[in-house]
C-alpha cells in the first residue's frame, strides 16, 4: 500500500465522518417542520443539534483540505468543473446557518416561521446535493485529457442514476435524523418521530436496494474491485450487518444502538462505493484513460509525508473534542435561556 492509498482511505474516512455527523443534523433539519407541532417543540428539535451542528460541518472543511493537499488535481477539477453546484451548496450552508442563528432573535411567529422554512428547505437541498455529488462520482464526469470537466450546463450532471442517488440520500438522512431525534427527545415529540422510523427505514430500504442494483447492473465499473480483491466484500457485508442490527435495535427500543447502527450503515455504504471506485477518484465518462486515479492525481511524496505528520497530530485532537462535545451534550434536550 502506497502513501497515496493511505491518503485515499483517510479522505474516505473523513467524508464518512462528515456524512454520519452532519447527516443527522441535516435529517433533523428536514424533519423539523413535520416533527414539531408548536414553538417549544420546534426549539427542542433545533436545540437537539444546537451545540454540535457547526462542529459536524468542520469535517467537510477537513475533507476539502485533505483533497486540496493530497489530491490537488482532483480538487482543481471538481471545484472549477462543478462551480455552480458548489455555489448552491455554499448558499444553502449560509442560509441554513443564518436560519439557525436568527430564528430565536424575535418572538414573532411570522419571523420564526420564515426561518423555519429556510432551515428545513436548505437542509433538504443540502441532502439532495450531497447525493447528487456522490452520484456524479459513481457515474463519472466528462473529463477531457487536461483534466477539465467539459459541461455545457448543470443539467449535464443530472444523469437519472445521479438524481436517484440524491433521493436515496434524502431517505437515508431522514432515517438517520429520526433515530437521532428519538435519542434526544421525550414525550409526545419522541413518540411521533418513533412512529415514523419504520416508514423511513422502509423508504431507505427500497431506494438503497434500487441504487445498489443500479450500480451492479449499470456498468459504472464499480464491481471489479470486489471480484479482484475479494476481501473488500467486508464493506457491503458490514453495511448489511449494520442494517440488520439497526432493525433489531429499533424493535428492542434501544434508541442509541439503533442510531449507532444507522451511522455504521452510512459509513459502510460509503466505504463500499469508495472501494468499488478505487483506484479511480474522478472517472472520465469521455475516455477511461483521462480518469484521475489515486496514483496519478496524488501530490508529491514529500507533501504526503509532511501531511501525514500533521494528520497524526491533528486528527486525534479533532476526534477527542468531537467525542467530548457529543458526550457533554448527551442526554435529552432541555431548553435554557441561552438556547436557540
Amino acid at each position: 500500500m502506497s502513501l497515496a492509498d493511505f491518503w485515499f482511505m483517510l479522505f474516505v474516512a473523513v467524508i464518512a465522518a462528515y456524512i454520519v455527523l452532519d447527516g443527522f443534523d441535516l435529517g433533523v433539519g428536514m424533519l423539523h417542520p413535520f416533527a414539531a407541532k408548536e414553538d417549544r417543540e420546534r426549539r427542542i428539535v433545533l436545540n437537539s443539534i444546537g451545540p454540535i451542528w457547526d462542529g459536524n460541518e468542520v469535517w467537510l472543511v477537513v475533507g476539502g483540505g485533505v483533497l486540496f493537499a493530497a489530491f490537488p488535481v482532483v480538487y482543481a477539477s471538481m471545484f472549477s468543473g462543478f462551480y455552480w453546484a458548489l455555489m448552491f451548496v455554499l448558499i444553502a450552508l449560509i442560509l441554513r446557518t443564518v436560519a439557525i442563528e436568527f430564528r430565536g432573535k424575535r418572538e414573532s411567529s411570522r419571523w420564526r416561521g420564515l426561518w423555519d422554512s429556510v432551515f428545513s428547505a436548505s437542509s433538504f437541498g443540502l441532502a439532495l446535493l450531497l447525493g447528487v455529488a456522490f452520484g456524479n462520482v459513481v457515474t463519472g464526469v466528462p473529463l477531457d485529457k487536461n483534466g477539465e470537466v467539459q459541461i455545457d450546463s448543470l443539467l449535464d450532471l443530472l444523469h437519472p442514476f445521479v438524481v436517484f442517488l440524491g433521493v436515496t440520500t434524502v431517505a437515508m438522512l431522514l432515517m438517520h435524523g429520526a433515530h437521532y431525534l428519538v435519542v434526544k427527545t421525550e414525550g409526545d415529540l419522541q413518540a411521533r418521530v418513533r412512529r415514523w422510523i419504520p416508514r423511513f427505514i422502509g423508504l431507505f430500504t427500497i431506494t438503497a436496494a434500487i441504487s445498489a442494483v443500479w450500480i451492479a447492473v449499470g456498468d459504472f465499473g464499480l464491481t471489479d474491485t470486489f471480484t479482484d480483491d475479494v476481501w473488500t466484500i467486508v464493506f457491503p457485508l458490514g453495511a448489511l450487518v449494520a442494517y440488520a442490527l439497526m432493525i433489531v435495535m429499533v424493535r428492542r427500543g434501544r434508541d442509541f444502538a439503533a442510531f449507532f447502527s444507522s451511522s455504521a450503515v452510512i459509513a459502510f455504504s460509503l466505504a463500499t462505493i469508495s472501494a468499488g471506485l478505487y483506484p479511480n477518484m474522478l472517472k472520465s465518462s469521455t475516455n477511461p484513460a483521462f480518469s484521475m486515479t489515486v496514483s496519478n492525481a496524488s501530490a508529491e511524496h514529500y507533501t504526503l509525508t509532511v501531511m501525514l505528520v500533521v494528520a497524526i497530530i491533528g486528527i486525534p485532537f479533532v476526534l477527542l473534542y468531537t467525542a467530548g462535545v457529543q458526550y457533554l451534550f448527551s442526554g435529552k434536550v432541555t431548553l435554557t435561556p441561552s438556547s436557540y
Binding site: 471545484f79 468543473g81 462551480y83 436568527f102 430565536g104 424575535r106 477539465e148 457533554l328 432541555t334 435561556p337
Partner: protein
Amino acid sequence: MIDLGFLLPLIGVVAWFVWWRRKKERMPRSLLWVCISTVFLAEVATIAGWWTAEVGRQPWLVWKVLRTDAGVSPTLTTGQVLLSLITFALLYALLLVLFLFLLDRKIKHGPEAPEEPHESDLPNTFREVFRSRSQGRASGELELEEDHVSG
C-alpha cells in the same frame, strides 16, 4: 486595519473614562454613536486586512511561484463568475439589512437586568460536568428549571 486596531481599544478606554468621570450616569449621545460605529469598524478592519493581503500580492497567486493569470480555472466563464458575485452581493446585502434590523432592536431593548444569583448550582467548567457525569449522578441536576425558559 492596523490603525483601526489601535483605535478600537482607544475608543473603549475613552468611553470607560467618560463613564467613570460622569459617575456612571448618562453618556453624551455623540460618544454613544462612536461606540455603535465600532460594530462596523471591526468589520471594516477585517476586510481591509484581507484586501491588503490580496491586492498587495498581485500579480502573484502564490508569491513568486504561481501567477494569478496562470491559476485561473480554464473551464470557468466570466459570466459564471459575475453571476456568482452578484448572487453573493445580494445575499450579503440581505443579511446586512437583517443584521441592522436586529442590532437596532437589540440596542432599543437595552441590556438585560443583572441576573439574580442562581440557586441551582449550574456547573461552569467542563471538568465539573465530566466529573458529575462520571460519578453517575442524574443529569437532571445539571438542568435549569423549566420556568427560566424564555423566548
